[in-house]
Symmetry: C3
Subunit: 365 residues, 3 copies
């Protein structure tokens, strides 16, 4: 299926994009070069020189414009060639590479692969807890050899904690817990609660909970197209009200690299007022999650992708369970948005067939 | 060309399939998971969870059923989901993975990729010399990057011993020897005799023949669809009747992994009454053959496949020699069986064109 | 685009092709085996046995004919099977592999992939400075993961010296210099002159010029289809006539391996009369160029190819600059020759569209 083009995607963490050296990443199947101009504004261009397709990312930044490493043409932030060093120096009219609208927010550089006229910063969802103005943050990146929607499934259905991450994130209490999901227009939420749970040491320690304490845990996931999630995990002593507990919010941003690989950016943030404790906790969370993410989630996602191959997800006739409700809602939203963008008259018929299943899920919730 | 589906194929050696951990292998292009249930019966399922395509082979076996590693659904020996650990525990009707008929015989687990109703143990050809009830056996496995029919060509035409394996299996006598071949319905046999031959040390020692002894050697190959061969090699002192000689029988089973790669299973067996000598001889044979098979046959088969590419075998217009008669007979049988299975009205016309060549070969025999 | 078939291509350096062991190389997408027969003449055959597609290059040369490693058929210099070692020894009429016209000249073995009747040694362009009869030569080979025409672009437009090889071959003077190009029928020439240049130590030392000396440098490139170039670099003290300078001629031969990879053969030669100095200089040139070629040109060419993908060059709408004039002329010649060979009625329309650009370039020159 095609990518949704008129949307904001994370291209890189802000710290990856520099004024002294360009940076290259494949995004939605296109090679993109990122750098900062003389005003430190992030620039995103096609990483393919207008002259002979050299990767501009191997060139250098001179006075805020990007110089091609092959024959030295220079391109500015709108992709226009602004210097031809050879002969009479004339610049051919067509010497231009595609520039993408971009902006910097929440510690990330965002880019808009669709119609530039529709790129509106107001369309960016809010991730206030990783706004570096008010928070200390720590972030992690994982390259995932799977379609981004398989990654979204993973994050929207945390029931897998119990089976895939039994030693770090999961526990037997999860399957016994309850789960609700719903839509707010294009936004999908899933709320999962567990009761009287014995946390694994990694999570308990993160929340400062003594070993052996019984707790209630909630995990609230919120998904916004095209693959921008927040996850808030909270813990209280078992039976206590939520207000008595602690929460840990995190952002999870999925950007397709290709049709079968995904850039997974994630970040934790806590208020600056918490001082060193915040700094330590966000680092603890990111570093601790790297192992289950890399050693358990990534191989699973890659194996799913391998089993999926070039098939359409629905053509594989996946069994649908109540735990899938949120993930299926998100898939439906994406299918609808992509169909609309591509000018299809209506939502594909197949999404109708799964309606009863999602109803079942609501009943469970 | 498509695979023949209604046939028994070796999926694994019996020792590879266990009750405590699942085992995965790609067979005829499909990922298959193998394990033993609580009664130690081998089970063969699609290695792709009905829920979200996770590889079941990364899960665990719990009370004889297989638990998916991702969200913990459990599947029994007929592929039916028998447990959903989440929420109300209901199991959706469609939560089922494909199960393949399987059986254990001759030290191997066999599976039937076609219509389960037609899977009949009586259709399995006989390999009594590797029946572990009465024999000591030793087996070897090689992954071959070539179409299984190129491997069958190799085994059905041992004239290559002289050129490809001159230091171990071949000798100049082979090209001077004679060869006969024929069909018994779908079974193809090739009988090759050499006379007054000086064996290479590897073969001589295996038969306990003093260095320098002149011998007569015969090599009888029998092929059954889809790629199940027995090879009986016998040796006598030159000029002596066969009854005065010794024989070494072996089984060679070819299972397509994909259209261009093959699982090659082979085994030697000798009667238990022979005691330690048998044990030593079968090990000697398998271990000794590994080197020529791996270092001489495998690179050749892979190079043939590379030169063949995606082309049809006949489209390459191979020159046909008398030595090819058996291999061509086997190819014809497979073409006929596959065409019949696919509902083709008749054998493809191209096989008729090669008739004169095979006639030539019979004349030689 | 298809390859030009009726043309001489370099298959190997002469020293690579031997009478005691065959040599294999993929040329224009075909596996070719090269060896020398009993008269030391180079032979080029399809590296694919007529019997079962075994690579003949893994066989051995017996009395000047090539024996297949699998079943021992032998093939002579015209590709005809001349021996079947099995049974009655009859050789089937069709047992023949394709033989290519070949010849040895300029230290290389040349082969003609097209119609053998049209293979004429007189069509080979002249590279007298690497004729080993009169010269000492040194040669180098590089495998290039790019279409051969991208390599030709590279050699026909040495403006890239300044940007891609600033520390070895380039200098700021290059962009200030002037450049002319033109056609002589199918031959394309580009002449580039720089003035009052400070050479990098690698070039200065090669020409025996003291550090800091200001020089004039000229670089004359001559391209002949399908990708046979000579480059003559000359240097004088700044302002002196060319006749007072020194020149270094080199040959650069591009042979497509596949549609996206190229064999790049190059060689320097100097007259034998120069004695040891010549020997040292040609070695200095080849060894010194290996580093910029391997570490700067090859990654660039590979990156261009990756950005080009399966697209047609013109479909990528490359910006055309005056520096491209020679390279575009060469592309036009190839397009015309290939179209003619394939029986196209006329030159494709798209080449007309670029006419104005090349006119611009002439104006610059
Ligand atoms: S490829 Fe960029 S300037 Fe030539
Ligand atoms: S993928 Fe197997 S239970 Fe979800
Ligand atoms: S493949 Fe060459 S002789 Fe058989």
């Amino acid at each position: 299926m095609a990518f949704l083009l008129n949307a904001w995607y994370v291209a890189a963490f802000a710290r990856e994009v520099r004024a002294d050296a360009p940076f290259s990443r494949t995004l939605l199947g296109r090679p993109v070069v990122l750098y900062r101009d003389a005003e430190q504004r992030a620039v995103a261009l096609d990483d393919r020189c207008a002259h002979r397709f050299a990767p501009l990312s191997r060139g250098r930044i001179v006075n805020g414009v990007l110089e091609c490493p092959y024959h030295g043409l220079r391109f500015n932030e709108s992709g226009q060639c602004v210097r031809n060093p050879h002969g009479d120096g004339r610049v051919p009219a067509g010497a231009k590479v595609r520039a993408y609208p971009s902006l910097e927010r929440y510690g990330a550089i965002w880019f808009w692969p669709g119609d530039p006229a529709r790129a509106d910063a107001a369309l960016l969802p809010s991730f206030p807890f990783v706004d570096p103005a008010a928070n200390v943050t720590h972030d992690g990146y994982l390259h995932t050899r799977a379609h981004y929607q398989l990654s979204a499934d993973n994050l929207l259905d945390l029931s897998h904690f119990q089976f895939l991450h039994p030693d770090t994130l999961g526990s037997e209490a999860i399957a016994r817990g309850d789960v609700q999901s719903g839509n707010l227009d294009d936004i999908v939420w899933v709320r999962r609660s567990t009761y009287d749970e014995a946390l694994q040491p990694f999570v308990a320690q993160g929340f400062g909970i003594p070993p052996g304490t019984r707790v209630d845990r909630w995990m609230d996931v919120c998904w916004t197209p095209p693959g921008l999630l927040s996850i808030v995990v909270g813990v209280t002593a078992a039976g206590m009200p939520r207000v008595a507990g602690l929460i840990a919010p995190s952002a999870h941003w999925l950007t397709p690299e290709t049709a079968s690989t995904t850039h997974y950016f994630f970040a934790f943030g806590l208020p600056k007022e918490m001082g060193d404790a915040a700094r330590e906790l966000v680092r603890y969370a990111v570093e601790g999650l790297m192992k289950p993410f890399e050693c358990e989630d990534l191989p699973m996602l890659e194996a799913q992708q391998k089993n999926l191959g070039d098939s359409d997800f629905w053509a594989m006739q996946p069994a649908l369970l109540p735990i899938d409700a949120g993930a299926i809602r998100a898939r439906r939203v994406m299918e609808r948005l992509i169909a609309a963008e591509q000018g299809a008259a209506s939502v594909p018929a197949r999404t109708i067939a799964i309606t009863p299943v999602v109803d079942t899920s609501q009943a469970v919730a």
